[in-house]
């Protein structure tokens, strides 16, 4: 029950793990943390090197196909300009506000639909067809109803993710083990208590993962919204750069979007780690 292994047992075991030579391309091979980072860096290094060589080979005009070093120096220049920083702020604000609105609608609805088949039968009839309507097809409507301001962009971003969010949260809630719900019932929990003390906490880790993944999808609609009609935002900056054939600026914009997406993803992962301490010792 307690780990009362003799002190010498652990080093012995560790040595045993390296006694066999596992093939490099073994199925399910476990990798050390360092090995994984090294391979990731290697992948990026090869990618950038190939790009650099292609760009410098002079196959395409330098203005249309800049080398990575050009893109990095463009990025550095943009970051020192006040204009680009406020573009980033505008884009981030749009993402966060629209996603907060979408999540605060979708999570309660999805949980109720996942928990109660009656609600699911009612809600699914509406939600399922909307999922198949591409959000950008609403742009003309939104432009007429809401004009070209913030409301139109936020609405588009919400429309882009809310239907999928509802469906995914519903699936996360449905996946809660039935025997946990039944256990709560036999311990005397009312339906309301079961919802709050079992269904919600059991589904929450999966719901947070769903939110993390759908936030990435939000960026797709952000760029569309900012390309259609906007004076600020990363997408608008890229459209401006297009007029002056600043391909290096456009690529820097893409790079920033990627980095911001990655950062938000990491923040969500940190939140997950912090809010669900009981999942930490589990292997993924």
């Amino acid at each position: 029950m307690t780990s009362s292994l003799p002190a010498t047992a652990l080093p012995d075991r560790a040595r045993q793990d390296t006694r066999w030579r596992t093939p490099l391309f073994d199925f399910q091979r476990t990798l050390s943390w360092r090995g994984r980072v090294a391979l990731g860096v290697l992948a990026w290094g090869l990618f950038l090197a190939a790009w650099q060589m292609l760009a410098r080979a002079g196959i395409a005009p330098e203005q249309l196909f800049p080398a990575p070093t050009d893109v990095f120096s463009a990025l550095y220049r943009l970051l020192t300009e006040q204009q680009f920083l406020s573009d980033i702020r505008a884009s981030l604000t749009r993402i966060l506000i629209s996603f907060a609105i979408a999540a605060s609608l979708a999570v309660p609805l999805g949980v109720l639909m996942g928990a109660f088949p009656v609600v699911a039968a009612f809600g699914n009839a509406l939600v399922s067809p909307f999922r198949y309507l591409p959000a950008p097809s609403f742009i003309p409507l939104l432009l007429m109803w809401l004009g070209t301001g913030e409301a139109q962009k936020i609405a588009l971003l919400c429309l882009g993710v809310v239907w999928f969010l509802i469906t995914l949260v519903m699936d996360n809630t449905r996946a809660v083990r039935v025997d946990l719900i039944e256990t709560a019932k036999t311990l005397g929990a009312t339906r309301r208590a079961t919802l709050w003390t079992v269904v919600v906490p059991a589904a929450l880790p999966a719901i947070v993962d769903t939110l993390r993944q759908m936030l990435a999808v939000s960026w797709t609609y952000l760029v569309i919204a900012e390309i259609v009609a906007a004076t600020d935002g990363i997408g608008a900056m890229m459209m401006r750069a297009r007029r002056f054939v600043r391909v290096d600026d456009i690529m820097a914009g893409i790079l920033v979007i990627g980095l911001l997406g990655l950062l938000l993803d990491l923040l969500f992962r940190a939140l997950h780690w912090w809010v669900f301490p009981y999942l930490r010792q589990r292997r993924q």
């Binding site: 019932k185 036999t186 311990l187 009312t190 906490p201």
Partner: protein, 278 residues
């Protein structure tokens, strides 16, 4: 000794109330409209303070009977009456321990055991130290602040048992609770269960397909026949339980009962060979 343990000392094992199952039947309707009779006209009683085992071959409807008594499944026919009241749904007077591990993974061991009392607003019981008392009974005090995923299967099952017992049910329902444990751990758990149950004075209805478990734990064994589940026999094993598992194999009374039951199970198996769909 905490307040809850002290209160137990003074109230001698309360004679809790009787379970009557009369003419219980369950018919499942499968998706394509075909019907399966899982339980057919089952009647038995569990007297106050009695340990009753439901024994029978796999698929004979033991779990279904238990789930109906727990109020998780509606009977198609017949009645279930506990302490004079008809069972019409789940309730805290009947605690169920599942075969699968049903600890809430987001709660610590202590929070798991306290769950029933918290959710039913039993603040007095919480203040009396009921949770600590039952943690001690199942020997999990050193692990009170761990999460279930850090524990072994047997320990998790002990959490589930403590959680159910802390709620103070009149009737403890268990569905093959020790099925996944090795024989020594299982033996320890069975002893622990008998000890706790005697002391708390509650009745137990336990599902098992392990003949020795039934012989050791039960005051009464209800043997079900294979498909559809009917009561085939009701047996009374000796009330004096041995201190060691080996004694179960040598005491003449047990030996005779065991071979009787094994023969019966074999006959049941022969009427519907493996793989034949009912």
């Amino acid at each position: 000794m905490n307040a809850y343990a002290a209160s137990r000392l003074h109230s001698a094992p309360v004679a809790r109330r009787e379970l009557r199952v009369e003419g219980l039947s369950k018919v499942f309707t499968a998706r394509r409209g075909s019907v399966v009779t899982a339980v057919d006209d089952v009647s038995f009683r569990v007297l106050p303070g009695e340990v009753c085992a439901l024994l029978g071959p796999s698929g004979c409807g033991k779990s279904t009977v238990l789930r109906m008594v727990a109020g998780l499944e509606q009977p198609s026919d017949g009645s279930i009456v506990l302490s004079g009241r008809e069972v019409t749904g789940p309730g805290r007077d009947r605690g169920l321990v599942f075969q699968s591990y049903t600890c809430f993974p987001w709660l610590t061991v202590r929070e798991n055991v306290a769950y029933g009392l918290k959710v039913t607003g039993s603040t007095l019981a919480l203040r009396e130290g009921t949770v600590d008392y039952f943690l001690e009974r199942v020997k999990l005090t050193p692990f009170a602040d761990r999460y279930p995923d850090e524990l072994s299967g047997g320990m998790r099952q002990r959490v589930a048992i403590a959680r159910t017992l802390a709620n103070g049910p009149d009737l403890l329902l268990m569905d093959e609770p020790f099925g996944a444990l090795d024989s020594e751990t299982r033996w320890q758990m069975q002893r622990l269960l008998l000890d706790v149950v005697r002391r708390e004075g509650m009745s137990v209805l336990i599902v098992t397909h392990d003949v020795d478990e039934a012989l050791y734990l039960a005051d009464k064994i209800v043997c079900l026949s294979r498909h559809p589940g009917r009561v085939r026999d009701i047996l009374m094993p000796p009330a004096e339980k041995p201190d060691e598992p080996e004694a179960l194999y040598s005491a003449p009374a047990f030996v005779r009962l065991r071979s009787g039951i094994l023969r019966m199970l074999r006959e049941e198996g022969a009427t519907a060979p493996l793989g034949e769909t009912p």
